[in-house]
Symmetry: C2
Subunit: 117 residues, 2 copies
Amino acid sequence: MLIRLDPASPEPLFAQLAAAVRGAIARGELTAGERLPSARELAESLGLNVHTVLHGYQRLRDEGLVELRRGRGAVVTPSGADGLARLRHALADVTAEARRLGLSAGELTELIRKEYS
Amino acid sequence: MLIRLDPASPEPLFAQLAAAVRGAIARGELTAGERLPSARELAESLGLNVHTVLHGYQRLRDEGLVELRRGRGAVVTPSGADGLARLRHALADVTAEARRLGLSAGELTELIRKEYS
DNA sequence: GTATTGTTCTAGCTCTAATAGAACAACTTG
DNA sequence: CAAGTTGTTCTATTAGAGCTAGAACAATAC
């Protein structure tokens, strides 16, 4: 799993890291039961602090995508892997266009809610 | 145009303000050539600092949605209004397709949230 | 000419992100 | 059981963004 981070981005590093893992799960590059590198390992290889990596892992845990256990590390959950893989591509074009126009995720979802009602 | 801001949100106030205006344009509540309230006026009525409002306006200008001129204020550009209107139509197509496939609004917005992260 | 409005500048305050180091608790492995 | 691995928790510091504040300035409208 290749992870590239941009320190100059307004997006926090821990969030970029979480996003990278999330994307890998959605694309099927990481499957249920697979284990992520240990925080200390990944921090070393990415040139980050251990706490920053753990912060990202904890966000993924909050989203239900991975399980964290001491001594074992971070493991992809079945529910997380299943839920992500679906209609993601169908939305890619629209979200890219929306982002180009400066819309936030909140604004886009707001438009959708109105569209559905 | 009603603007509601949440100071407790992680989203910066200037960004929330820009988002509100953007949404109003996308929904057609603000049309090309229309003038926004002056920064000093809006700051007063929203309980914000003038600079915060101007920060939001400047973001909208960077996105090409409004023009800023001293003495005149912020005016919605034709190109900005058009672009957002187009997106709105594209979005209508996607939501129609999603509905045809049996997705709920919640599922769709959840996918978008992940797409943006 | 006068009022309005955005632009620019300095300044201070607060909060988040990121880093750093240390000790600790739970789990895995031999 | 013993040792190593890994996440958890704690305190602390640094850097930057966001927001507020006040002032002076420049372009436009009337």
